[in-house]
């Protein structure tokens, strides 16, 4: 039979939890109105014990992430559907639901920022499905087009000068105007995407494996580096390994290879953001059989955008 003492203890436990939770979400943890407001969140956390990431709103995911205990709720590899709409680059028309998945929690937090969930696109389904990269109509060809909204490739010409920082991929295809991947995101996701610090060789141009070439950029959308994907810098700048970590998702042994988003039975090469250091023309990527690849910067290949919440 329950005793009053037990009820008081239970009440105090709830109150302590409430205060801790409120404080974790940025509140003082002592204001009663604030506590009442956060009580709903406590309930939703506990009541969502069986709820999947896909059932949670981006706003909710963002608040839990900021509070610093996202990995106490979700798990690496969990997926969430995102409806993308619009044309990216030259002709990658997106009008459907694609599934991003959790690459890691607080990944490389000391250098990249704390309380962040790192996501990558994508999968074709919530469960099972195909690991995909986005491609365009000129996949695996070299095009002479020099328009701003060009094909899915690192640069419009055969150069890796300026590395990731100066690339067309970073500045236009992922984070640019109306024909960027960011523009294709739904408003509720755009509202919570965080800017993240990423370290990459941002010099390129065949200048070799020079430590000072690895510098920071702040990005909303990015693509993984060779080391973040494979745990090795390969033909890239070996100093990137001092600033980056392999994502836990890949460290766990999960497959890296992709298929085309619009032909899920066909493999797709895809880019990483790491330039090759021995020449001024190529970036690193992954081929369809899980092998490393050097790709001319103006070649049209697959892209798997990443972002943080």
């Amino acid at each position: 039979m329950a005793t009053l003492g037990g009820q008081v203890t239970a009440f105090n436990n709830i109150k302590r939890t409430q205060q801790a939770f409120a404080a974790g979400l940025g509140g003082s943890g002592t204001n009663l109105t604030e506590l009442d407001n956060f009580w709903g969140r406590i309930e939703s956390v506990t009541l969502r014990a069986s709820a999947s990431l896909n059932d949670c709103s981006w706003d909710y995911i963002s608040k839990v992430s900021q509070a610093g205990f996202a990995d106490a709720i979700w798990s690496i590899g969990d997926r969430k559907g995102v409806t993308l709409s619009g044309t990216v680059g030259k002709d990658t028309a997106l009008s459907g639901t694609y599934y991003c998945y959790i690459l890691g929690f607080n990944h490389n937090a000391a250098k990249e920022g704390n309380n962040l969930i790192h996501f990558e696109f994508g999968f074709s389904a919530l469960s099972g499905g195909t690991h995909i990269a986005f491609v365009d109509s000129s996949y695996d060809t070299i095009q002479g087009d020099t328009s701003t909204n060009t094909y899915l490739r690192m640069n419009k010409t055969r150069t890796n000068s300026g590395g990731w920082s100066a690339s067309t991929m970073r500045n236009y295809t992922l984070n640019g105007g109306t024909k960027s991947f960011y523009a294709a995101f739904p408003a509720d996701l755009k509202a919570v995407v965080k800017t993240i610090t990423k370290y990459t060789d941002n010099v390129g141009n065949g200048s070799g494996s020079v430590a000072s070439n690895v510098t920071a950029t702040t990005d909303k959308l990015f693509i993984v580096s060779c080391f973040e994907l494979r745990g090795q810098t390969s033909s890239g700048n070996s100093n990137e390994a001092s600033y980056q970590q392999q994502y836990q998702y890949y460290k766990n042994g999960n497959a890296k290879i992709r298929k085309k988003h619009n032909a899920t039975g066909t493999g797709s090469k895809f880019y990483t953001r790491s330039p090759v250091v021995s020449n001024g023309a190529q970036f690193l990527g992954l081929n369809v059989t899980d092998g490393g690849l050097t790709i001319y910067a103006e070649a049209c290949e697959g892209v798997s955008p990443c972002f943080c919440v």
Binding site: T17, Q19, L47, A67, A72, W74, S75, I76, N254
Partner: protein
């Protein structure tokens, strides 16, 4: 469901900061692992998989050591991944996804003898 801490948990959980050494007993309430009434994490979360083990049979510490070594130890080689996919007694513990080696929730609650068997078949040290 009873749980036990198999790897020290010293950081923030749902109910604030925790410092729980190995061997501390916890309980599950409606899918949430709690310590003395304070919610720590959902039982399907990354934190649960890496720090807490099901302990109804009293083998939680062993279970946690085994699941951690298999799922979060040295990454599985291609050969080990193929063995995992091709062995019925193992692949039922892998998520329904042909391109990923992510152990499902049942794996983290598997009988202790099955976990010993999986570890041996995969050659995990």
């Amino acid at each position: 469901m009873k749980y036990v801490v198999h790897r020290r948990f010293k950081r923030k959980g749902i109910g604030g900061e925790f410092n729980l050494p190995r061997g501390i007993k916890c309980e599950e309430v409606d899918g949430t692992i709690c310590y003395q009434g304070r919610p720590i994490c959902l039982n399907t979360s990354q934190v649960a998989k890496e720090h807490f083990a099901a302990n109804n049979d009293g083998c939680g510490l062993q279970r946690g050591d085994l699941t951690y070594a298999i799922a979060f130890g040295t990454p599985l080689t291609e050969l080990q991944q193929n063995i995992a996919r091709d062995t019925p007694s193992i692949n039922r513990y892998i998520r329904d996804d042909c391109q990923a080696i992510l152990f499902n929730d049942s794996f983290f609650h598997a009988p202790i003898l099955e976990l010993f068997s999986i570890k041996a078949k995969l050659g995990v040290k």
